[in-house]
Every structure is written in C-alpha cells, then in structure tokens.
Symmetry: C2
Subunit: 224 residues, 2 copies
C-alpha cells in the first residue's frame, strides 16, 4: 500500500560523520557546497539527519565553527614556552596566520561570515572563541613582567595583537594584498611594529621576531 521507506539502523556515528563531511566539503568545494542535500548525500543519509542532530543547517555550521577553534587551539598548544616571551607571542601570531591560511573557508565562517550567509553565532559560541584566544594574554603578561613591554593591561595588548593579525589575515584571504606589499612581507614588519608599539626596543623586537620565524616549523608540525 505505502512506499518502502527503508530507514537503515540508527548509526551512532552519523553525527560526527556529518560534521566531518561538512568540514571537508567546506574546505574542498567552498561555502556554496554546504547544503543539506549535499552533506546528507556525502554522508550517505538523508537531509533529515541534519535536523535530527543539529536542528538546522545553522546548527551544523555552528559545530564547524567549534571545529575551527579546536584546530586553532591545537596549534597554540604545540607552542613551547621559552625565556623570551616576545618570541613566544610572535609564534602565536604566526600560528594564528598559519591556521587561517590552512583553513581559509573555516576561518571565514568563524569570523567573517556571521551576518552574511544567513546564519548567526550565539554569544556562547563567541565566548568559546574568545577563550581560545585567551592563551595569548599570558604571553603578553610575561612580556610586561620582564620589562619588555611597557606597563599596560595584557588583555588590551593581546587584543591589539589580535586585531592586527585578524585584519591582515582577513584581507590576505580576500586577495586584497598585492606586491610590493605582499602578505608575508607585511606580516613580518607588522609584527615588529606591534612589538615596538607595545614598548620593546626596535633592535630587541627585530631579534625576537626573527627568532620566532625559525621556531615555527620546529614546533608546529604540519597537520591536516
């Protein structure tokens, strides 16, 4: 009488599979590939699975944002603390940019595309993002303690660092940076400017920035 409906047995992995597939689609085929039908098809299920587990497409995107912050956190956790806190801070900046360039669409969803593209982040989501960034404040605090940076609120200085890194990376991903002010060259001199602005001397700042460049590949292995 009725059609065959043949739902297969409930798959306990379907939730994580959907997130994984969605993140892969975002990375490989861009944001326009993030549709319920495409994700469901690639995960070998139906669109309803998205609504069962995430409530809506926005819910799935929300999980992808968390995945993005987890990858950034992963980079940060690999950075070793040395006796040069300014170098440590610069490595954080380099890791921030490396993560963004390795996951450009993910980064765009995390920061750029909240108002666009129809979906919105909740205050809880943004708080989670801020928490990941909070590890930088410790670095700045040590810079102040050791007299490298002038007396200031470490949280505020960390925000300055964040703004400059985010602005550069965002414009780099938007192809706004061209020669003779390419992204890499801008990045290096921007780091020096920020460190000097925070209170360090020019020579000392230049040395720490240069040192941080060599630490990057040593401490941050290539990750998928």
């Amino acid at each position: 009488m009725y059609r065959k409906n043949v739902p297969r047995k409930p798959d306990p992995n379907v939730r994580s599979t959907l997130i994984e597939v969605a993140a892969r689609l975002l990375a490989e085929d861009g944001p326009q590939a993030l549709s319920t039908r495409r994700v469901a098809a690639d995960a070998d299920t139906s669109t309803m699975a998205v609504y069962t587990h995430f409530g809506s497409m926005s819910g799935l995107v929300r999980e992808i944002v968390y995945e993005g912050f987890a990858r950034l956190q992963d980079y940060f956790s690999q950075i070793k603390e040395t006796d040069d806190p300014v170098s440590d801070l610069c490595v954080h900046g380099r890791a921030y940019r490396r993560n963004a360039l390795a996951n450009p669409h993910l980064y765009a969803v995390m920061f750029g595309g909240e108002s666009l593209s129809g979906f919105e982040l909740s205050e809880e989501d943004r708080q989670h993002g801020r928490y990941v960034l909070a590890s930088i404040v410790g670095c700045v605090g040590r810079c102040v303690e050791q007299g490298r940076f002038r007396q200031a609120d470490p949280g505020m200085v960390a925000h300055h660092m964040w703004f400059a890194m985010h602005g550069l990376v965002n414009l780099e991903l938007g192809d706004y940076l061209i020669e003779p002010w390419g992204a890499q060259e801008c990045f290096e001199s921007q780091l020096v400017t920020l460190v000097v602005g925070a209170g360090d001397g020019l020579d000392l700042a230049t040395r720490s920035v240069a040192e941080s460049a060599q630490r990057l590949d040593a401490e941050l292995g290539i990750r998928a």
Copy 2:
C-alpha cells in the same frame, strides 16, 4: 492569442534605482533581503531588470561595493590637512571606523563576504578599493618627512594601519569585543600603539591621538 505582457516604457533611472533600493535593503533588512525578487519588487520592476543592467545578482552586489567605497571616500575627502600629520592619520582611522559602523552590512560585503554568500569580487573591484585607501599613504609620508615616524615605506606603514583598523572594526561588527575591552577603548589605545610602533614618542603620540578625537565631529559632519 498570447498573454498580455504589458512592459512599461524603458525607465532610464531603473539602473540607479535598483542600486539605491538594494543598498537600502542591505542596510535596513540585512544581507538575506538582497534577492532578485525583493529588489525588483521594491524598485517596481521585474527580476529581469537586474539581469539586463547587471548581468547577475553578483553584478548588482558589485555596484553596491562601489557605493560602499564611495561613502568611505566621501568621509576621507572631508578631512582637512593640518600641520600635524599624525593627527591627520588618526582622523583617517577614526573616519574609517565611523564609516564601517554607519554601514555595517555594506562593510561586510566590501571586505568580509567575498568567498561567502556566493559572489566574488573581481581584481578590478579590489583595485578600486585599494585606490580609495591610498590617500592614507600621503599622510604617512608626511609623518616620515617631518621625522615623526622612523624611516620606512609609507605604503607599508599605511598597510599596518589598515590591518589594525580593519581587524578591530571587523571583530567589533561581529560582536567579538566585550567589556572590559570594549571597542572604543581598544580603538583609542590601538591608535597610540600603532603610532608609537611607527616611531613616534609615547607622549607625542598620545597628544596627536587625543587631538584627532576632537577633530572628528568638527570635520566629519553626520551623513546618511
């Protein structure tokens, strides 16, 4: 025999009307209101007008981006050149932020939403954006000439300024900034940090930044 088609006489203003309506929809109802049917209905025409005059929805959005840069240009052109180039530079920074906060969705389309939301900017569009920003380079050049900033490429220093302003504004629009590091407070101290990082002394920088705040309302009238 055939249907009544009743196209009215070709309206020479329909192109500019579409841009105007689209910009208003973007400002008032957000990006999701930017649909061919909605724009056409509000402009009292059909969706075909969009394709006749702009080729696609992306073409219309492209025009909106130019409108956004025109507004920014408008702010910049109102700034008077004084004998304190650092103050002039800071006023440019303040105007940049004021324009972004006055046209948040427009700003998001200009910089944030290129990869997202399906549409893309051409290299020509981005070049036009860079050209608008180029007026800042002159300011930085005078800072270097007068010995306020250390010897450096003015274009590079202008880029540093741009990155920091764009990063702050972008995160502010994304509601990522909360107390005790609110946007306004971050903005003020960020300006000082940038100016000091470029080479100015702390006292001199603080004074020019404070002076620039008073110039803002005097030189930049409120505009729609």
